[in-house]
Amino acid sequence: MKTLGYACPLPSGGTARELALGFDQGRAKRVMIIPALLDEANRMRRFTVEVMRRLDIAGIDCFLPDLPGCNESLQDLAETTSVDWSDAMQAAAAQFGASHLLAIRGGGLVRPNGYPGWHYAPVKGASILRQMLRARLISSREAGREENQEQLLEVGLEAGLELGGYQLSSGMLRDLQSLVPAISTSFMIIDQEMIGGGPLWLRAEPGEDRAQADALAAVVAIGMNA
């Protein structure tokens, strides 16, 4: 596995270098993975890399780019919207010469069009937002502060809002409220029942599961050989 970079377009013009992990041997089969979003990204990252190791062994090049404002990115998440994320994924897919995409969870909400692939465990933007708002309400209540969802959102949609340690812009909050997974015949949905085991994005501590990584990699590898 190598640390790679890609030229990520900036909203103001120009590009910034963003990081990507990759297994690249110049093979014809090339899968770019769009990571899970925000808090789920942390819980799913090790699993995602485990899937990549298996794809590499199966003769498939694969890439995991950072979303701007997340992971190693130096861009300010508070200035980022979901459009910046999809533009970034579009640029990364072109640069890595992806033949297919594998979107994990909310990653499917910002996938570029025009590539076949798979969407593992789709989730609506509104569900991601609801869960992060709920986590904030629970911790506020523990700290003796009374907040409610409507007020938080109202303020957030004006000025942005910190949820779970992520400073989300008003544009990002608006995007999350409305984004739903795109349905396409060239993009297959992989649900958790196909993979088996407990959903790793629910884990309180990031975990991994060999059988699940085997299963997801197998679905992708078999699909590419078909």
């Binding site: 409610n148 629910l202 309180a204």
Partner: protein
């Protein structure tokens, strides 16, 4: 015999806590949850409640979520069962 809701709640807790199936079998109504299990932080609890909504097809209002609800396995189970009857 355990109700379906009871089994489902144990399954969700296994998923959240990363336990093997069966390890939540010894949870009793007095088993402490939020504030007792260090890994169960606010984000994990939020995930648990959202999963509970999805699997039981219920809606949990924010003002129903307080320390008492999440205090023990028994309190959460009683809440989930009452929600379904409605």
């Amino acid at each position: 015999m355990r109700t379906k809701t009871d089994q489902m709640l144990r399954q969700i807790l296994s998923d959240v806590l990363g336990l093997e199936a069966g390890q939540t079998d010894n949870f009793t109504t007095e088993t402490g949850l939020f504030g007792h299990l260090p890994e169960l932080d606010s984000m994990a609890v939020a995930g648990l409640l959202t999963e509970l909504e999805d699997r039981l097809d219920i809606i949990i209002d924010d003002d129903e979520v307080d320390g008492d609800l999440l205090e023990t396995f028994g309190s959460l189970l009683a809440f989930a069962e009452a929600k379904q009857v409605r």
